[in-house]
Symmetry: C2
Subunit: 326 residues, 2 copies
């Protein structure tokens, strides 16, 4: 099937409305869940883009299945060829951070001068990369717990908020942030538009700096790491470093990252941090965008960040080991 | 065969001499190499003790083979039953540090009030444990590169010095240290008797705090970790923490630990740190006796040791993961 590409007839007025077009760039677990929800809105034209061809083909042939806390299958356009995608009004970037630059290069032509692209990715620095090629950029941070089940199939463990706000250097109008949030919330997601989303982004970032790095290096699932005294103490020390860097930047956190630690630790299932999933698959991790970014900011500002720097060094070393160096 | 148990006839004087009896406790790679050399001296009665029965049986049946930089097979007494071992004049402790306490409990009866026991183990704290049950204790640190090839077979990559000196709290006479060194050097090893061996022990300890912890967490062999910029920087930061703790304790290092780093990195073969070998086999590591000991001293003395504490926390977490915690 193919979504409407020219317009739909308004049920209320009978007028021809141009469908809002949205392209989700990066259809891993998070991108797929957002895509699936959005595709249930009949007045939105949804395009999914990912280099993982088997996943795109499964979506084209059988639809995108969402299970877990939700249960439905959505039909939508899915491709690994960016030239097939028409100009879009909104973009949602949901790739791993390490793929942001390549994804922007492949898709920048889709986003014209009035389009806005929102990053819902982990870590810091994605918005800066997107803004090199896209006019209006929106920063975001997510609180969903999701995972892939296989090609064409993603699962939601629980819905959480997705906080979005203008990426300051791009001068994105807040009305665009509100429009995107309204559209996503109609689709059943929980987007929260904020004038300043940095506090939410840093709250998630600081949580990730502990949960992802410690999980990836110890191979403990999050609940076990949060409960085991030595790793719990390291979580706390990493959180304190990140909080000190945020303070030096004048960023007010939206919540205590310890709440995210505790919330995750209460999960009934063993939940591996995404960097641990990457380590077990011997794929490059997002450590540059998480602990590396905090360490870079801290060192620039003169805030001590020995632990974020050390776990960054260890994870770069672990990634290096997969190349079997001489 | 069985070594002489009562005495040997002096080739020079014809007098009956009581053979010096030595028990090596812990016959991994290092213990086996020391045992093999010592067993070549006809006037020394050598007993090897290890709980690894297959290794002890192989030594009893086929002798102990030493290859690599040496090449010989030695015959000697080897047992996993400490009740078979007669009272000995000297003991050499070469178990993993985590097994020191159990090994002392099993063998303390072998060492009478005039016997001296020398630790050639990694890390700090072994001498303290041995001294709880043995009158005279000698501290030691080794510079050999060795590894096991299989039951009954150990290999020497290169010979290095083994520095020994009195364990201060036990008031061990220096003459006992000299006697042990002379005996070992006759056997072809390079023991160096020192009035104060703490500087040598801490030099090795500080080297191990970097090479072992970084290797175990990144799975890089030592040369690769020493050459890769992020892990080389972490080596340097760990070395500096250990050096600061040694200074606060008034210990003068016997060498720059960076020389040990560089020496190991020049090895033509990929050499995994012993803690990495343990991690790959999912066996408990010696981290409590290396980074844990440095962190404990530093925290007691008010010397900042965040990195030794962090790698200790990560390795305890990694060990914890092997129990598949809920």
């Amino acid at each position: 099937m193919s979504a409407p590409s020219e317009g739909v007839v308004s049920a209320l007025t009978g007028a021809i409305l141009m469908a809002v077009k949205v392209c989700i760039v990066g259809c891993g677990a998070l991108g797929s869940v957002i895509t699936g929800h959005l595709a249930r809105l009949s007045d939105i034209e949804v395009h999914a883009y990912d280099v993982f061809q088997e996943h795109m083909r499964a979506i084209r042939e059988r639809g995108l299945k969402i299970s877990g806390a939700a249960d439905f299958t959505a039909r939508l356009n899915a491709t690994s060829d960016p030239s097939e995608i028409p100009p879009c009004d909104f973009g949602i970037f949901a790739t791993k951070s390490i793929h942001t630059r390549a994804a922007v290069e492949q898709t920048a032509h889709i986003f014209g001068p009035s389009a806005a692209v929102c990053s819902v990715q982990n870590g810091l620095g994605n918005e800066e990369i997107i803004a090199e090629r896209v006019r209006y950029v929106i920063r975001g941070a997510t609180g969903l717990a999701i995972h892939m089940r296989g090609p064409g199939h993603a699962a939601v463990e629980f819905y959480g908020d997705i906080w979005i706000g203008p990426f300051e250097p791009s001068g994105t109008p807040f009305s665009l942030v509100q429009e995107l949030a309204a559209l996503m919330n109609r689709a059943g997601l929980r987007f929260v538009p904020l004038h300043d989303a940095r506090g939410a982004q840093w709250t998630k970032l600081i949580f990730n700096s502990a949960a992802n790095a410690v999980g990836a290096l110890t191979r403990l699932h999050h609940g076990a790491a949060a409960r085991f005294a030595p790793t719990a103490a390291l979580y706390e020390a990493l959180l304190q470093e990140g909080e000190a860097v945020a303070r030096a930047l004048g960023i007010v956190l939206s919540a205590d990252p310890r709440e995210l630690v505790a919330e995750g630790a209460r999960a009934p299932t063993k939940r591996n941090a995404s960097m641990l999933v990457d380590v077990l698959a011997e794929r490059p991790t997002e450590v540059d965008f998480i602990n590396g970014a905090i360490a870079d900011y801290g060192e620039k500002l003169g805030v001590p960040v020995p632990l974020n720097r050390a776990v960054w060094q260890l994870l770069k070393g672990l990634e290096h080991s997969w190349s079997n160096p001489s």
